[in-house]
């Protein structure tokens, strides 16, 4: 992923800790966008087959971007916005998604 060509950036860049590494993210952008830009390989694995997955819809529908954000699992990284000093980790599949019945 690269920045839009020849444009002046309006975002403030902030540090974000991903898998223990510090990466640079843009404040206010979706967490998933920041991760995709630096680690385009994959963001999680299917809990069923273990195959690699990454964000698909970027609008909160597919749940392919579930990650642990600031210690809370099952966060949709495409819905969460980047703030100062976030900690993000990949997660393998969903962990105890719902309080109600399935």
């Amino acid at each position: 992923m690269s920045a839009q060509r020849e444009s002046i950036e309006i975002f403030r860049t902030v540090p974000l800790c991903f898998q223990g590494d510090m990466i640079t993210a843009k404040e206010g952008e979706p967490v998933a966008a920041a991760i995709l830009a630096t680690h385009p390989d994959f963001t999680g694995k299917s809990p069923v087959s273990g195959r690699r997955r990454s964000p698909y819809c970027m609008m909160g529908l597919c749940f392919e971007c579930l990650m642990e954000i600031d210690g809370i699992p099952n966060q949709r990284a495409c819905v969460a916005s980047v703030r100062m000093n976030m900690t993000v980790r990949k997660q393998i599949g969903t962990r105890s998604f719902s309080a109600g019945s399935k």
Binding site: M1, S2, A3, Q4, R5, E6, S7, I8, E9, I10, F11, K26, G28, E29, P30, A33, A34, L36, A37, P40, D41, F42, T43, S46, V48, S49, R51, R52, R53, S54, P55, Y56, C57, M58, M59, G60, L61, C62, F63, E64, L66, N74, Q75, R76, C78, V79, S81, T94, F97, S98, A99, G100, S101, K102
Partner: protein
Amino acid sequence: MSWDVVVIGAGPAGLAAALQAGEFGLSVLVLDEQPAPGGQRFRAIEAFEQRCLVNQAHLSNEDNHGATLTRAFRRSDITCLSQASVWDVSPGGRQISYLHQGRSYSIRPKAIIVATGAIERPTPIPGWTLPGVMTAGAAQILLRTSGRIPEGRIVLLGCGPLLLLAAQQLRDAGANVVALLQTTSLADFARASLHLPSAMWAPKLLLDGLKLFARTASNRTVSSVRGVKILGENQVRSVEYVAGSQSETFDCDVVLLHFGLIPNIQIPRLAGAELKWDDELKFWQPVTDDWQESSIENLMIAGDSGGILGAEAAEISGKLAVLKIARRLDAISESTLEKIGRNLQRERHRYAMARAFMDAIYRPPLDRFLPIADTVVCRCEEVTAKMIEAGVANGADGTRRLKARVRAGMGPCRGQMCSMATAAILSKKLGIGAGDIELATVRPPIRPLTIGQLAENALED
């Protein structure tokens, strides 16, 4: 205090509805899942406008309009909760439960306007779960919200005006779009021309549509594409397809899929509103009357979540959705209702007629894209077409039984990604119309919710 109206979604329909309700003096709360108002059509429009200003770039007329609408909304005294995720609407639509800043709340407004927009029709094709595959809409969102474009060689695949628009926007942003593979064929244009006379009533929409396919947005454009496979081990390596009698392969790093839009009906389904199957457009939509009211009293459906008519029409149906509510609360007179209402209804009708033309061209090629064999249909539970077929062979005669047998639709997305394709396979195998396949019930919570959040749910009036 009990809100007069709660609007779910801050896209064109939701914003127009909220502003209209505010004008009538109703108390309005807007719940929106995104960080800023605008919906998907005007996603992050405020930041985008700012970026355009700083870079002395031109804002399109549509975007300019979106920015103006958003500004009017910001300047109003309407309460808007951003990043608020509705996780339940009770049967009958009396109570809304939502998460905001880590806490859960339930409220009981006098009326609800659902303005949750559209989603891109999920179309399972071999390899669509590979990293590197996204929807075209997802790429647009990346561009809008963070100014980023997918790196590498991009192939766009599918059909519909948004596919072409995305190709255009990505190319303008400097993306390496290597191919545009359209399932649309010449026959689609011929059939669509039957709708031309009625479409002439909304010439702007029509012209926009025609302009879109006049421009070629990539190095290579192919139409009538079928037999598509996305290949790769751990990520996308290439796309294989058939065009004419030729089978071709295209090396690429990113595949962006788009097969048109369908209404986002998750909330009407939760509430138990009556739905109808549109056999032309191949999707479910809520049944609504001339005033956008669903089968449930005081549950209105505005914008694309009530049927795909686009952003301009969404504003009209948003305003329309408020009128009956305002009348019942005695905020407007019967004659105001009639006067404003009839005008809006006429306008809405014009958009519907123009849309028929576009729909005819970009009819989703669903027969040719019915998932088979090892194609993953349900992404969450990795249920393949073959497994679904086996479920049917073992007696699953509807979505509900199928869910119990093969777990299709049991994952966190609550069937949003697979229910259409699953129903299509059921319909084919059982030999009944897609509209006769019962829909599985949607159960709350439809968004991730912890037990702690549920236990501490605050009930407000």
